[in-house]
């Protein structure tokens, strides 16, 4: 091993440095804590940019840590997502958290969690996967309870940490059974030694439920709504996109490569879970008033669509799922961004509060409409392309019935997304949310998201690239 090979971990190393610098900065910046925001965002932006430098495929630590253009590219997507989230969270921190001197920690925690994601999606064995998973979950639990003076926030934190502990316990138990069945922790070694037995099925399902918890698939999703509602909006945002996306990513790899032998078991499993997730997520989303809760259930339903895309279990599935995840990250960040901006400006989070929003805040309304339409899959916004490719992926293996169920669900989901659009555009209110101007970073963030939402879909080379790197994975 030499330093050159360590460069494969470049992103992790840089991010670690960023975290350390931030912790130091928090100590040394005493006067104007607001500057910590800019330091953090600036550093992370640099980190994101560095991420785009080319990088080879390879592995480290005896295959515990692997990287490939796809993994690496996906980390970049996560970086962009996190960058957008922290750009939007600065104003929240300034308005709510400044008084408690708790700004630097926020960034440190969120970056630690991201670091966990890195390790998780780069994992080459179950140990690394577990460590990454925990490293990504624990800071988020702390973040969920970050608003220490809010009861809801604490509740969200405790719900998340307890549920997460339970789920990681189940996951560990499952991993131990898989270990018993083949004697190795390394992904590379496992797929040759797995047979069908009661034991492996049990191991598979328990492992799956552990990750399904993070992805919030039904019936492992119950924490989602409560935590999203209670946690500070940036954290909900982070949970709904980054955390979910990376869990999907690693689940996909473990299932497709490591547990390929058990494909005839996990495909029906995904099928069942996918159908349940879409329906339950949608049925609950239908009747939500609180927008964060609403988005929580919507993100549950979206997870169902992702599972549908995964069913094909080939490189098409990988590329479409990754593509969808990238778009999903943008869409959800857009929606949460607006919700958060409105919430900071007026403290209102309910759909009815949005009545007449267009007349007072046209840009915000447009942004949330585009983001929600993207989630619903309305062309020419990127979400449509993402969804369409997911259907294509499922249909390529003949899952037409599932595609049909999915499109029925899209129609249901369109209904509740339209409810928000209806409130903002169609309705008038005696007391609309007054005009406000959110801070520059938020606005830039939302604008980037909007551009991304059109660009990611219409600009096909993006998908072509994903398709290209997914092929190399060799499934």
């Amino acid at each position: 091993m030499n330093w050159n090979t360590m460069l494969l971990m470049r992103q992790e190393i840089v991010l670690t440095i960023v975290i350390l610098v931030l912790l130091l900065a928090d100590v040394f910046v005493t006067k104007d804590k607001k500057t910590v925001n800019y330091i953090a965002i600036g550093l992370f932006a640099i980190h994101t940019l560095i991420g785009f430098l080319p990088l080879d495929a390879g592995s480290l630590f005896g295959d515990s840590f692997r990287t490939s253009p796809l993994i690496f590219g996906f980390k970049n997507v996560l970086n962009v997502g996190v960058l957008l989230i922290i750009m939007q969270s600065a104003s929240w921190l300034n308005s709510k958290m400044l008084q408690y001197q708790k700004i630097g920690e926020f960034y440190a925690l969120i970056f630690s969690s991201l670091l966990g994601m890195y390790f998780m999606i780069s994992a080459g064995n179950f140990l690394m996967l577990y460590l990454g998973l925990e490293l990504s979950t624990l800071p988020v639990a702390a973040l969920a309870a970050y608003d220490i003076h809010s009861r809801k926030s604490s509740e969200a934190g405790i719900k998340l940490i307890l549920s997460a502990a339970l789920s990681s316990g189940v996951l560990l138990f499952g991993v131990s059974i898989l270990y018993a069945a083949n004697g190795s922790m390394y992904f590379a070694n496992i797929h040759d030694n797995l047979g069908h037995s009661y034991l492996t099925i049990m191991g598979l399902v328990m492992f799956f439920s552990g990750l399904a918890f993070k992805i919030s698939l039904v019936p492992f999703h119950f924490w989602t709504a409560d935590v999203y509602e209670g946690a500070p909006t940036p954290v909900s945002n982070y949970l709904s996109v980054i955390s979910k996306a990376s869990a999907v990513f690693i689940l996909m790899f473990v299932l497709f490569i490591t547990l390929r032998e058990l494909k005839d078991i996990w495909t029906p499993m995904l099928y069942i879970v996918s159908v349940l997730t879409m329906f339950i997520g949608n049925f609950f989303a239908l009747r939500q008033q609180n927008l964060k809760r609403f988005l929580a259930f919507s993100s549950v339903a979206q997870a169902g669509f992702i599972m549908m895309g995964m069913l094909a279990a080939n490189d098409l599935a990988v590329s479409t799922v990754v593509y969808f995840l990238a778009i999903y990250i943008f869409s959800n960040i857009g929606a949460f961004g607006v919700v958060q901006a409105v919430s900071i400006a007026s403290g209102k989070e309910n759909i009815d509060d949005y009545n007449g929003l267009y007349r007072t805040n046209p840009m915000m309304s447009l942004a949330i409409m585009i983001a929600l339409f993207s989630l619903a899959g309305v062309p020419p916004i990127a979400g449509f392309f993402g969804k369409f490719f997911l259907y294509t992926s499922a249909a390529s293996q003949g899952y037409y019935a599932l595609v049909f169920i999915a499109v029925v669900n899209v129609t249901i989901s369109l209904y509740y997304y339209l409810l928000v659009v209806r409130a903002a555009f169609l309705r008038n209110s005696e007391t609309p949310i007054p005009y406000f101007r959110s801070d520059l970073l938020t606005r830039i963030g939302i604008i980037i998201v909007m551009i991304g939402l059109f660009f990611l879909g219409l600009y096909s080379p993006f998908y072509d690239y994903i398709q290209e790197v997914s092929k190399i994975v060799g499934i």
Partner: protein
Amino acid sequence: MDILTLFVVVPVLTVVALVFSKGIKAYRLVAAIGMGIQTLMSFNLLYQFLQLREAGNTDVMLFTKDVLWFAPMNIHYAIGVDGISVLMILLTSIIVLTGTFVSWKVNDLPKEFFISLIVLASGVFGFFISVDLFTMFVFYEIAVIPMFLLIGIWGTGPREYAAMKLTLMLMGASALLLVGLLGVYFNSNADGGALTFNIFEISKVHIPLAAQKLFFPFLFIGFAVIGAFFPFHTWSPDGHASAPTAVSMLHAGVLMKLGGYGIFRVAMFVMPDGAHYWANFFMVFAVIGVFYGALAAIKQKDLKYINAYSSVSHLGLVLLALLMMNEVAWKGAMLQSLSHGFITALFFALIGMIYGRTHTRIVTKMGGLLNVIPILGALYVIAGMANLGLPGFSGFVAEMNIFVGAFQHTDTFHRVITIIAVSSIVVTAVYILRVVGMMLMGPTTPEFKNLPKITWYERTGTYILVLFITLIGIFPFWWGGIITESIGPFIKNLL
């Protein structure tokens, strides 16, 4: 930039111009100019098309262009037009233009109104120029979604309910369509070769019969819902009734045509065996729609409801004719699409104008308007006569093509169905004359003794429409010629 892509680009540029313009006059002007250019372009397209045909170019599609879009899926931005699409584009541009004139007086959020209207139009234009299923589907949905805002914001009555219902039903239909599209796509390599969304390449492939039987209903219903196919037509009365004038025009005039066009261009073209297998089944529903729509229209009191049900009836004829699967009937179907487009647009425009003056659309509350607003009244009578199929207007030509074509079918069942459909002409006369008699004739209702005269922009809009209605009605051979020649390759594939 090729001549066809401009049809999507110009609306987009108009939208951009609208975004950056200020003041209600500027909005109107920009919208009118943009759509005026669009109309000129569509005439130019027609001219160029005829020139090429004259020069002996016998390709099925002219002005084709094919740009690879999503290479892994073999998705192309593939465009091209034949005679039918050219005429449909002409129809669309004229109706959008007249719609712009008719909405001259929109005061509430005028900018947004015109933007939504033009976005909708760009979707429709895109739909008509596409020959790639994916592209077509994208444009289809672009055309549907602005409807929600247009009805929801500028509508009247239970607008939120209507907007929601319309959007959900149409998007539900497009969901079916999507399943059908994917089914076709993944069977497009049945003869070897790559998967493709290009309808012409798919049509050369023999999709397995089982797949055709399975997926044809998806495509058919998916398209037919927007063509007000019984029993999935219920979005249309509510939608039309609540929509603002221009939107009703555009919706009934153009958007509902996407259904018949899609069935003709896609569903029946790529799955001929499926079409044959299902034709009789759907035909029964189509003819029910024809008769049922007409009967339901008799009882309505709201002008817009009457027209909405009338559309159900008339577009049922389009579907029926398509299912008859012979050249003459298809020609009739296409002519009916055009004709119904102009006629209903005229109808809705007039209803909008009358409503703008009387503030009611309830037939029984009005009377003797012919005395007060003679030109509008006369135009309404013309629209009514055209709608009930009076010779000299477009409706007659279209219906006769359908009836005669359909009746040439050698199977008795088809001919019986045709006769049932023919009987709708009587019912049509009843509901049209009922309205004319109640609303325009008779003693003038006292509160409507003084109504404003027709204005210049109203004249412009309606006269253009009347002109085209009569042009089709008097020179059907010219329109029919363009259509027949374009139908050829499609009908050959089916027989």
